[in-house]
């Protein structure tokens, strides 16, 4: 594999540094397992469980309590009576278990890197925005912009989601058990979206890259989005992922339609596959 420094794109001045980590302060390599955790991550015990009754608390108080429990080593936190409050469980850069007994409002579980979250109710707009790693599992429906700018991890909604699902998605996987609305995958740049039901209009509009799989009807495709052949690799991956989350249809995955970007990007499609992630 050609190194970054001697690539065509490097000669063009598009990037001059090797990939060093998820931010400028925290660097890690695949060989350095410890580097996958932030240096400020709490040392928590998943067997230590605590509960927060959210009924009478403001979102800021709930988020503060979560951090206090993490500081004291609790690795599993249950939120009771969340009452569809906004901005809960945000900015958690730690491996953690969260169980939400009820529904969240807008901007739930944003900016996560690491936790596993299970939600028994529904979630509002912009759930899981900018998540970098982890798993979020929603049992009921979700609002619009589900998984906006997702960068990594699995974001799963067993019900239906609103419009603009995976807008500006940069990585990771979004899985929807029901239907998705208009403009899903809008300006998608990487990652995968799987929808077991139907998709609204302008699916994949202006997508740069990434893959969308739709199990039901597609109202229409957006600019730059084109159908592609479903390969054995796709089938194996879909079967594995949907089985993991108990969403595998009885008839399997052969009926899924695969959508990819159909537009050639001059500065992108000329790159070697290993370099593409550096650009995006």
């Amino acid at each position: 594999m050609a190194g970054v420094s001697d690539s065509v794109s490097a000669q063009m001045g598009m990037h001059t540094e090797p990939l060093t980590g998820r931010d400028i302060k925290t660097k890690f390599t695949l060989q350095n397992e410890g580097g996958f955790a932030y240096h400020f991550a709490r040392d928590v015990d998943f067997n230590r469980r605590a509960e927060i009754d959210c009924a009478e608390l403001e979102p800021s108080e709930i988020n503060r309590k979560i951090r206090e429990l993490m500081d004291s080593g609790h690795g599993s936190i249950v939120l009771r009576n969340p009452g569809a409050k906004h901005s809960l469980i945000v900015g958690i850069l730690n491996r953690m278990n969260f169980i939400v007994e009820g529904s969240l409002g807008y901007f739930g579980c944003g900016l996560l890197d690491g936790p596993t979250v299970r939600i028994s109710g529904r979630v509002g707009w912009s759930f899981g925005e900018n998540m970098m790693a982890g798993v979020c599992l929603v049992e009921k429906n979700a609002g619009s912009t589900f998984g906006a700018a997702l960068r990594g991890g699995d974001l799963v909604c067993k019900g239906s989601v609103g419009s603009r699902t995976g807008i500006d998605q940069k990585g990771g996987t979004i899985i929807v058990g029901g239907d998705t609305g208009a403009f899903s995958g809008f300006m998608m740049q990487r990652g995968r979206i799987v929808v077991c039901g139907n998709a609204g209009k302008n699916l994949g509009d202006s997508m740069y890259d990434g893959t969308i799989y739709i199990g039901g009807e597609i109202q229409d495709l957006g600019v730059d989005a084109v159908p592609a052949a479903l390969t054995d690799l796709d089938r194996a991956w879909l079967t594995r992922k949907l089985t993991m989350y108990e969403l595998l249809p009885g008839k399997g995955v052969d009926h899924f339609t695969k959508i990819v970007a159909g537009k050639q990007l001059w500065s992108y499609d000329n790159l070697e596959p290993s370099e593409k992630k550096l650009v995006l």
Binding site: G83, S103, G105, R122, G143, S163, K201
Partner: protein, 311 residues
């Protein structure tokens, strides 16, 4: 940003005032400038509820002359009603500048409205058999308390918390809007209408009147014109999606219906809860949870979706 909410009972009248107050108070963060309610009570035979104001709340801080002007304007309204042969069954003045009259009248309601609004500073908030439209500056609890709305019984209603973006912070620009000159029709809206001036000029050329520069008023006038032409509420909602440009979600109520329309981009939020005994809608689920604390299944209507529910 603005927050909107709607509620309709399918099993008869309940405390619609109290529940709408709770829903709108939960949406206070979406718009703290003003709050408005359009609630539908149990109509009496051949009776109308007339709600009007003769000044703005902020006028009260501008010296003592305004109080004399308010008294003169109210006297002028009373004189006009007597002249037109309107029977005032009872009257109430929840604030210095706003009044509620229960009237009996079999004349031309449009003529009555036009003549009343010729009196300086006077604006009709609503006329209806069942509709009562209340709006003022402040949050839902403030407005509901001032107008004694917490115990209002009715079948359905809509409400609005306003963050003023394109017109003034006053009662005139607050929602809901009554669909002049039609009884019992009101609108609340969240969004921006980008062909507002074009459509407004068209409607004004055909004789319609606008009292504010708020784009949401267009929806009320537009709907009134459509209904006058004989369209159903469903037809008007459907047509609005294609004739009105911009990003919007709006709710509209008639004497026994609650309707909803969402634009082609689905850019403005709406959460819907449907049950056998009620339907509740709001910009955020937290408003629905204010009246239904237990776990429920809610959905987001999609782009270009219209719905109408009967009381």
């Amino acid at each position: 940003m603005c927050g909107i909410a709607g509620l309709i009972y399918r099993d008869g009248a309940r405390n619609i005032g109290g529940e709408m107050t709770a829903m709108l108070q939960a949406l206070k963060h979406r718009g703290p400038d003003s709050t408005g309610f359009a609630v539908y009570g149990e109509p009496g035979p051949n009776e109308y509820i007339l709600r009007f104001k003769v000044a703005e709340q902020e006028d009260l801080g501008r010296g003592t002359k305004i109080r004399r002007a308010i008294a003169e304007r109210k006297a002028a309204v009373d004189g006009l009603l007597e002249e037109l042969g309107v029977t005032v069954l009872d009257l109430d003045g929840p604030t210095e500048y706003a009044s509620r009259y229960r009237i009996a009248y079999d004349g031309d309601m449009k003529d009555l409205a036009d003549q009343m609004e010729e009196i300086e500073g006077t604006e009709i908030l609503s006329i209806g058999n069942a509709l009562e439209l209340i709006k003022d500056l402040g949050d839902a609890a403030d407005v509901s308390g001032a107008y004694d709305l917490g115990v209002f019984r009715g079948t359905h209603g809509i409400g609005h918390t306003r963050m003023a973006t394109e017109s003034d912070v006053d009662i005139r620009s607050a929602h809901p809007y009554w669909a002049y000159p039609y009884n019992d029709i009101a609108v609340v809206h969240n969004g921006q209408i980008t062909n507002y001036w074009l459509m407004r000029r068209q409607l004004e050329r055909s004789g319609q009147r606008f009292v504010s520069n708020c784009d949401s008023e267009l929806l009320a006038v537009y709907t009134a014109v459509n209904l006058e032409k004989g369209m159903t509420l469903e037809d008007s909602l459907e047509r609005s999606i294609h004739e009105i440009d911009g990003v919007f979600t709006y709710l509209i109520t008639t004497r026994n219906e609650l309707g909803m329309a969402k634009d082609t981009m689905a850019a403005k939020p709406m959460v819907l809860y449907e049950a056998d005994d009620m339907v509740a809608l709001a910009s955020e689920e937290v408003a629905i949870r204010a009246i239904i604390p237990h776990e429920i299944d809610t959905t987001d209507p999609y782009d270009e979706e219209i719905r109408v529910w009967q009381a």
